[in-house]
């Protein structure tokens, strides 16, 4: 049994980083033996979150890590930016900020695809979104 857990960091800086991050999440979720539907959900979720950062802030970071509890293995993805922050997260999550780029829709959609979703934001400091999906 390999005890070396996956822990990787990627930066969001240029447009093509989104493609790269999707590829990485696809590869890692395959390695962790997520089924094809859950692989697709993870790739889609990270794409939504990374794009939000790219579109609204420009720069950020994605941390992809393997998580375990006594019974199961999962993948945790943290997407962080140092942007202006989201003023009213509840409203953003209700889709009320759905602009043409669709921040709200993307966030709500992402939440629905994951087992765990949390978002923290501080005005002037940035936003951190954490998602977790467990292998079935």
């Amino acid at each position: 049994m390999n005890n070396q857990r996956i822990f990787e960091k990627y930066t969001i800086d240029i447009e093509f980083d989104l493609v790269k991050i999707r590829q990485v999440v696809r590869k890692i979720s395959k390695e962790l033996q997520f089924d094809i539907v859950d692989q697709t959900k993870l790739v889609t979720a990270v794409s939504e979150l990374a794009r939000n950062v790219f579109d609204y802030v420009g720069k950020g970071e994605v941390i992809v890590e393997e998580v375990r509890d006594s019974l199961k293995i999962g993948l945790k993805i943290t997407v962080i930016d140092n942007g202006p922050g989201i003023i009213d997260i509840d409203r953003a999550m209700m889709g009320e900020f759905s602009t043409s780029k669709g921040l709200g829709k993307g966030l709500i959609g992402t939440k629905k695809l994951m087992d765990k979703f949390s978002i923290q934001s501080e005005i002037g400091k940035g936003t951190e979104v954490v998602i977790v999906k467990w292998v079935n």
Binding site: I14, E15, F16, L18, V19, R22, Q23, R26, I36, V37, Q39, T40, K41, V43, T44, S47, E48, R51, K101, G102, K105, G106, I108, G109, T110, K112, L113
Partner: protein, 131 residues
């Protein structure tokens, strides 16, 4: 770094086969080029009545791509062309539905053959209306 997706014309239809790992800029460029192409063909005398989007190779469709496909379908519709989407993978379909995303304005077909049948039927219908 953006790529280019070819647009192929067959009779009165335009066919687009999406590439894997499509980046946002390539996708946006495609939308522009496709509507431009419909316009160009129309003024040169070939009335484009159908757009076929083959998504077979796409392993994910997020809200951005979903919206792009919708936008393509809706702008094609304003130019009197119907859009049919082909080849959505089961995992992509499930993900789209669970996210609550719809490919508004686009018809869906099982395969390319079926897509052409739909486009032919729709064209026949609109011709009847005109008559």
């Amino acid at each position: 770094m953006s790529q280019r997706i070819p647009i192929i014309k067959i009779r009165e239809n335009l066919i687009v086969t999406f590439i894997s790992d499509i980046d946002d800029l390539t996708a946006l460029k495609l939308q522009k080029e496709l509507t431009q192409k419909i316009h160009e063909e129309n003024i040169s005398g070939v009335k484009i009545t159908g757009v076929l989007l083959d998504l077979t190779i796409l392993d994910m469709v997020d809200s951005f791509l979903g919206r792009l496909i919708s936008n393509i379908a809706q702008s094609a519709a304003t130019m009197n062309a119907n859009t049919v989407v082909v080849g959505i993978r089961p995992a992509v379909a499930i993900t789209l539905v669970e996210m609550g995303l719809q490919l508004k304005g686009a018809y869906t077909a099982l395969n390319v053959e079926h897509a052409f049948e739909i486009l032919d039927d729709l064209k026949a219908e609109s011709e009847e209306i005109v008559e």
